[in-house]
């Protein structure tokens, strides 16, 4: 029967693209549940806590951190599909393949310093609640500062995608989204302030460095997921030479 | 259209520059003694700024010739900004 999942698995010519798109949706949902719900690491707890309070936080979230980040360690690399689909969007544009390849390589780096290092530090902190509180404080800082460890990746990566969209003549993605990439690049400049300020709006849980940035990033992510879907729906079924 | 576009632009520039100098006068420290927060200064400065931004959008950015939708969107943003600033200042 046309349209059923079984039919699509066997006959849908866009199957590869749809599998990738659905994986992105699943990935971002699990990511959100783990970081916001299970581990309570988003929004981040304050940077100004003393060691005793940090040790308390680790023991309060012992199982949340260990199970939640365990899930990230199993499926964190499925984000590669999002990068692959975005790189593919650039391959369909009338620009040099360099854009797609640079984006793919840059974002392949992203998971290690920007996500996994955070998780490793907090997991090591959570696994031994009896560790010296000063060391727990170090792991806590290491965990939350590493969230901004990918500043350059998102900065350069967004600019690359944005330029590709603006130069493209095939209209794969709308121009305004190309410009919006510049805004997403700014968020990575803004977040740098959290490496300096330990309280106030520029701290890692601050209104500017976290919340406003998060809104921009969330809108950006929602927009690109929507437009990737439109791209797949619109796409002709010709073989792309690659 | 009675004036040519270049003359209009020059007048707009002169008006904006004049308003800036007015803001300078408002913001400058009059009299002696330590600086104190003055709601009148702050609110008039914000009001002047909103007027300036609207002039830039209408004249320089040519929103005055744009479709009504763009006029409404830009004005809506300015209104939102004004309300936000007022709320932030007064609360």
């Amino acid at each position: 029967m046309k349209g059923t999942l079984a039919w699509r698995w066997r006959h849908d010519p866009k199957l590869e693209l749809w599998l990738a798109w659905v994986t992105i949706i699943v990935f971002y949902n699990i990511f959100g549940i783990v970081f916001f719900g299970m581990t309570r690491t988003q929004p981040p707890p304050p940077p100004w806590w003393d060691h005793a309070r940090i040790a308390q936080w680790f023991s309060d979230h012992h199982y949340g951190l260990l199970i939640g980040f365990g899930i990230i360690f199993v499926m964190g690399a499925f984000a590669a599909v999002a990068n692959a689909l975005i790189a593919y969007s650039m391959r369909r544009m009338s620009v040099s393949p360099i854009f797609a390849y640079s984006y793919l390589i840059i974002y392949s780096l992203a998971a290690v310093p920007g996500m996994l290092l955070t998780c490793i530090a907090l997991v090591v902190g959570a696994m031994r609640p009896d560790r010296d509180p000063a060391l727990l404080g170090l792991l806590y800082d290491m965990g939350f500062l590493s969230f901004s460890g990918t500043m350059g990746i998102f900065l350069i990566g967004s600019v690359i995608w944005g330029i590709a969209i603006l130069l493209d003549k095939n209209r794969v993605l709308p121009k305004w989204f190309g410009y919006f990439n510049v805004c997403n690049a700014w968020t990575e400049v803004v977040v740098a302030t959290c490496c300096i300020n330990k309280s106030g709006p520029f701290a890692w849980n601050g209104v500017i460095a976290f919340y406003i940035n998060m809104v921009v990033f969330a809108v950006y992510t929602g927009v690109f997921i929507t437009y990737l879907k439109k791209m797949i729906e619109r796409e002709d079924v010709l073989q792309l030479s690659f | 259209m009675t004036r040519s576009a270049p003359v209009t632009l020059l007048l707009v520039w002169a008006a904006l520059a004049g308003i800036t100098l007015l803001a300078w006068w408002i913001g400058a420290h009059h009299g002696s003694g330590p600086l104190r927060p003055q709601a009148a200064v702050a609110l008039s400065a914000i009001a002047i700024t909103i007027v300036k931004v609207r002039i830039i959008m209408r004249e320089f950015m040519e929103v005055k010739h744009a479709p009504p939708l763009l006029k409404r969107i830009t004005d809506a943003w300015l209104a939102l900004f004004a309300v936000g600033m007022l709320a932030a200042y007064l609360i």
Binding site: V190 | M1, R36, V41, F60, A88
Partner: protein
């Protein structure tokens, strides 16, 4: 895609330039750029509101720190920015009229003003840092460096956009009026953001 259906075709530019009348409402440049302008305006408005809230929360510290800024420099910066905005508006007008040499002259004035603005800003930072006021000195200076720094980044991106406009104007084969207008719209946004930042950092009490 709506981007081109809303803006008119390039070949009516001569008609519009000659009469200075606008029979039908037209968005200058790509409508896409206006989306960026509104997103940026909203994001910056959020920063401005946060700034004002903290100002009201710690008025003494903000006032005292604010007094360290040179109001005259702020005024000069604003006048430079307004002049650059005026000249890029003239550049758009001359482009529509088909006078590309004159358009280039105005473009150079804008770019020169942008560079002058950046030099003055960096010099102001050097002076402030030399007096011991850094990003981490207090929250006012965090905001000062943050807002002026974010704005300066926009100036630099604006200069790149002006480079795109230059690229269009110098080559008779290109001369896309739409791209000239798009670049101008971005530059005007850089201008009005500065007008607000000037008020908040230098004037508001």
């Amino acid at each position: 895609m709506s981007s081109n259906s809303l803006s008119s075709a390039p070949d009516d530019s001569a008609v519009r330039g000659a009469s200075h009348t606008h029979p039908a409402p037209v968005i200058p440049g790509q409508p896409d750029m206006w989306v960026l302008v509104m997103i940026e305006a909203l994001t910056f408005s959020a920063y401005f509101v946060v700034y004002t809230v903290w100002y009201r929360f710690k008025p003494a510290m903000f006032l005292q720190s604010q007094a360290q800024l040179d109001l005259r420099l702020g005024v000069v910066n604003t006048l430079i920015m307004l002049t650059s905005s005026w000249s890029i508006a003239r550049c758009v007008g001359e482009t529509r009229a088909g006078r590309h040499r004159a358009a280039l002259t105005y473009l150079w004035i804008t770019a020169g003003a942008g560079v002058l603005f950046s030099v003055l800003k960096v010099n102001e930072w050097r002076t402030m840092a030399g007096q011991g006021f850094g990003f981490e000195t207090n929250l006012f200076f965090s905001f000062y460096y943050f807002l002026t720094g974010m704005h300066l980044l926009h100036v630099l991106v604006g200069l790149i956009m002006l480079g795109v406009v230059f690229h269009q104007l110098t080559n008779p084969a290109r001369r896309s009026r739409e791209l000239v207008e798009t670049g101008a719209t971005f530059w005007h946004m850089v201008d009005f953001l500065w007008v607000i930042i000037f008020t908040l950092l230098y004037v508001m009490r």
